[in-house]
Structures are given as C-alpha cells and as structure tokens.
Symmetry: C2
Subunit: 205 residues, 2 copies
Amino acid sequence: MPAHFSTKERILDTAEALFAEHGFAGTSLRQVTGHADVNLAAVNYHFGSKDNLVTEVFRRRMDEMSRARLQQLQAAQAQAPTQLEAVLRAFIEPALALSLDRQGGGAFVRVLARAYAERNERLRRFLSDNYGHVPREFSRVLAECLPDLDRETLHWRLDFLAGALTYAMADFGLRQRGDKLDERTQSERAASELVAFAAAGLRAT
Amino acid sequence: MPAHFSTKERILDTAEALFAEHGFAGTSLRQVTGHADVNLAAVNYHFGSKDNLVTEVFRRRMDEMSRARLQQLQAAQAQAPTQLEAVLRAFIEPALALSLDRQGGGAFVRVLARAYAERNERLRRFLSDNYGHVPREFSRVLAECLPDLDRETLHWRLDFLAGALTYAMADFGLRQRGDKLDERTQSERAASELVAFAAAGLRAT
DNA sequence: GTCTATATAGAGATAGAC
DNA sequence: GTCTATCTCTATATAGAC
C-alpha cells in the first residue's frame, strides 16, 4: 500500500484499514504485516503488542479530531455563546471531515463505530481517560444553550446524537460507493442534515 | 448457566451472551461450550459451523422483533394512518422491549449493535434478505406521514434514527448497571425519549 | 445425541543472527 | 531496524467409539 512512509506508519495505515473491515479480534498481525509488506516481527518491535497497536491507531486520529472539535467550539462560543446549531457543528463536522482524509481517515470512522460496540475494558478506559473531556465539555455548553431542558433528558438526547453520528460516519463509506457524488459534497451534506435533525430533536418539548 | 434447557438452546443463550461481550471473532467455540457446560463437538453437531451458529442467534430474536414491529405498525395505521409518533413507537418499542427479555434479550441488543459495525458479507446478506422488508415498509409509511419531506432527506433522517436506536439499545445495558431503576421503567423512558427526539428531528424544516 | 481424541491450521510473541 | 525460525497456545472442525 503506501510505500513512501516509514515501517511504523505503514503498519498503522494498514492496521486501521483492516480493523475497519474485519474488527480487532478478526484481524491477525500476519494479515497486517502481509498487506503492509513488512516483516511479521516488526509489529512487536515497534508497538510491543497487538493491544498497543490498537490504541496507537486510535491515538493518531483522536488527537486530531478532539483538537479540532474543541477549537471549533471555542470559535463558535466567541461569536455567539448559546447558538445551538454552531455548537452542534463543532461536534459533528470534525468527525465527518475525517471521512475526507486522504490518509485513511475514512477507514478510521468505521474503526470508531466498532469501538462503540466493543466492551473491551482496556480500549474503553484508554478512550475515556484520554478523550472523555471532549464530550463532557460539549455537554456542559449544550446545557447552557438549552436552559429549559432538564439534565436527564439532555443526556438521553446526547446519547441519541452520538449514536446517529457514529452510524452516519460508519455508513458514509457505503454511501460513497453507492453513488458517485463528490466526497466533500457528501460529507457536508451529511453534516448539515445531522445538525438540522439533532437541533430539532434537542429543542423538542 | 441455564441448565433447564436443551443443549441447543443452552448453546444459543451462551453464544448470544458471549458474542455481546467479546464479538463474533473474539468468541471461541471453546468459550461457548465451556460456559454452556456442553461438549465442544456439540456446536458442530447442532449447527454445522460457527457461522451458522451466529446466524441462528440472530434468527431467534429477529423473527420475534420483526413480527412485533409490523404488527404494531398495522395496529397504529388502523387507528390513524399518518400519525408520526405512533409509527415511530411501532419501530422503536419492540427493539427496546428486547432489553427486558428474561432469556437474554438484553444481550442480543448488544449483539445487534455489533452487527451494524460488522462488514461481514455473509451476515449482512442474511439480515438483509430475511429482515430487510421491515425497514423498507417503515420507510414507505413514514414518507406518507411526512409528505412535504423530500425522499433523500427522509433517508438521511431514517439513518440517524437507526443509529440513535442502536446506540440507545446497546447502551441500555450499561445504564441499568449504573442506577437501580426498574427495568421496565428504564425501557419505557428510553422509548418515549427517542420517539420525541426522532419525531421532532423528522419534522424539522 | 454425546463423548474423546485428534487433525490441521493459524494465532501472538520472542530469540538471536545479520 | 529487520530478518528467519520457532515456541507455545489456541482455533475450527471432524472421525469414530459409545
């Protein structure tokens, strides 16, 4: 596959694509090193274990996505502190934008969808410890946008939003294969459709 | 575990619980037969292969859920053909009701969440061939409930609903462990919250 | 219908040469 | 940093006795 990168990066790219397709348990290190055209022992040399390889695949994309979400949230609040749609865009757009990434971000969104279904304690703790502050911050800001909504109802609705976003992201790859629409157009369409849907759902009385 | 059922049923119950916890590839037949307290060879005797065991786990619950959804849809339409909330309830309630099932339906909703993340062609074709007519029928009826909504927007929003429902179902098990609320109360709360959220989202202009 | 025993293959991980 | 070779374990599946 990508032959112009280091062994470590080739392993990460290939693992990401295979994890998206076959899951974590369903992907063997032999498949990874075979497709990446590196030696079998290279995974244990560079990452120590398969578990560590999994978390490194997440770290690479989650660092970037979390940074983008918080930055866009800050920008939205600077303009209009309680504008619901702008806050939702800050949460949704960086996630869907990953689908456009040249270096395999489209595979990562499907990896992320798998992570939600996983009950793997190690992975869940890694994601919660390192990136849990992002949804918490959005939850805080959204509560300010919707002062009349009780906290419990807000939390239910945020769970629904997370589910819709995850599903939209994971399905996005399939839609692309279906029609031949421009990738950027698809992603922007998905984002604005979801912002409108979620905003109306969150405002429901 | 359930010692008062046949070997075949014990295998199905145990496989369902383990698939929910560790995924399909992550669950070995040795784990299944060990927890079910049956012989290792019994799986291949009763189901032929691991793949067949997976589809049989789905068939048992999906038959019941699809039947309940279509029946409730028919009842709703007999009363008021284009009442959006009633149609949504027919789609949502049978799915969340599975969480209450004594015989492990709570595990199955997490298995279902995993199925969405899977790209396994065999499993996808089985589900699409056998149960694809249900979402298609709901899509048709919802289009009648929302005559001013263009088809493409409707399909986006139905994808969001499917994602929110899947996520809510899968997460439901976690919530239950968190607080000590009555199971039936929890499920009914989840269903009515999602109906309100989805109805508002679908009606958004 | 259930068992033991085993065939066959593939898994993750590591030792040690280069 | 990369290789070969291999250890050890576990996987699915099946043959054949009871």
